[in-house]
């Protein structure tokens, strides 16, 4: 199962730039300008919310190669997921050993 699931992950990873073929946003995930255009105003909560500034907004960096950044984003995401699982398993193991 291990090798098969990694093969699947590898294949999907290779084809990930296909996700860039559309520039249409998901329904309800618009830029603020969309509300200005459609409603004539930006709802207050949406225009004034305070949020964290993401490292790589929209899986890209302005000025860089879009496909390259999309690949890099996939690598970063996958690496972070495995890191989190490794840390959790390590903590888990330590706790079990301490309990023994």
């Amino acid at each position: 199962m291990k090798s098969k699931v990694f093969a699947v992950l590898g294949i999907l990873f290779l084809f990930v730039p296909l996700g860039l073929l559309t520039s249409s946003p998901a329904w309800g995930e618009w830029e603020n300008e969309y509300y200005l255009k459609i409603l004539g105003y930006i709802p207050k909560g949406i225009s004034t919310h305070i949020g964290l500034k993401p490292l790589l907004p929209d899986y890209s960096l302005k000025g860089g190669n879009e496909i390259l950044w999309y690949y890099l984003s996939a690598i970063i995401g996958i690496a972070l997921i495995f890191t989190i699982f490794f840390v959790l398993a390590k903590l888990n193991k330590n706790r079990k050993q301490n309990a023994d």
Binding site: L21, W27, K44, L56, I78, I81
Partner: protein, 213 residues
């Protein structure tokens, strides 16, 4: 289905964290009970698959796009609680690193795309698993049901939170969110169904091995 920061009223946000935190705690315990050096590769890879499949934006007529989530695959291969936590982790990375979905809205997003998708997919699969296309059907409906939850949470915002006739948060009500959100996911569900069917069929022979390790 990734609701952004600022789209939900503070009371919706607080309620969602109150409701979802106990689910996260329980799910986390379930994950920890199965997580060790042997299971990391498979659990990590399945979560990574969910992250990557969400990057495949699929356009549909009308100027919108969407994607599969991959929750049902983990739910029927491993466990719906673990699927819920895996998708929650993916959403956390998306929100913090890539600005895809909000941080204040992560409880709602984890509930719809994680909890609801995983458990609806898991139970639908359980009912029809003797049929060849059970993974497709479970995946398909899990995404549609999850989109209904997102549509409801978004759609109640302008009903309850309005100032001077202007909605304060997400501005379109249920009459719009349900047809648009659920309607579009009747199509994206096909992608979820195909993904679930193919990968499940590829991996199911070794399914038992995951439970043994």
């Amino acid at each position: 289905m990734h609701i952004a920061d600022g789209y939900l009223s503070p009371s919706t946000v607080v309620t969602s964290f109150v409701l979802v935190t106990p689910l996260w705690i329980y799910g986390f315990k379930r994950l920890k009970s199965k997580l060790d050096e042997k299971t990391i590769p498979i659990l990590g890879a399945l979560s990574a698959l969910s992250f990557v499949i969400m990057m495949f934006n699929i356009p549909i007529p009308g100027g919108t796009s969407g994607h599969a989530v991959g929750a049902t695959l983990i739910a029927i291969l491993i466990d719906p609680w673990i699927a819920f936590i895996s998708v929650s982790l993916v959403l956390l990375i998306q929100a913090t690193v890539f600005g895809d979905g909000g941080i204040s809205t992560i409880a709602v997003n984890a509930f719809s795309m994680g909890f609801v998708a995983s458990f609806s997919g898991y139970y639908i699969f359980g009912l029809i698993k003797k049929y060849k296309f059970a993974p497709f059907i479970a995946g398909y409906f899990s995404l549609v049901i999850a989109s209904f939850v997102t549509a409801c949470v978004l759609g109640i915002q302008p009903i309850f939170w309005v100032q001077n006739g202007h909605p304060l948060y997400f501005p379109f009500d249920l009459k719009v969110t349900i047809p648009m959100m659920v309607g579009s996911h009747l199509l994206f569900g096909i992608a979820e169904g195909i993904f679930t069917q193919i990968i499940y069929t590829l991996l199911k022979k070794e399914k038992r091995a995951v439970y043994e390790i």
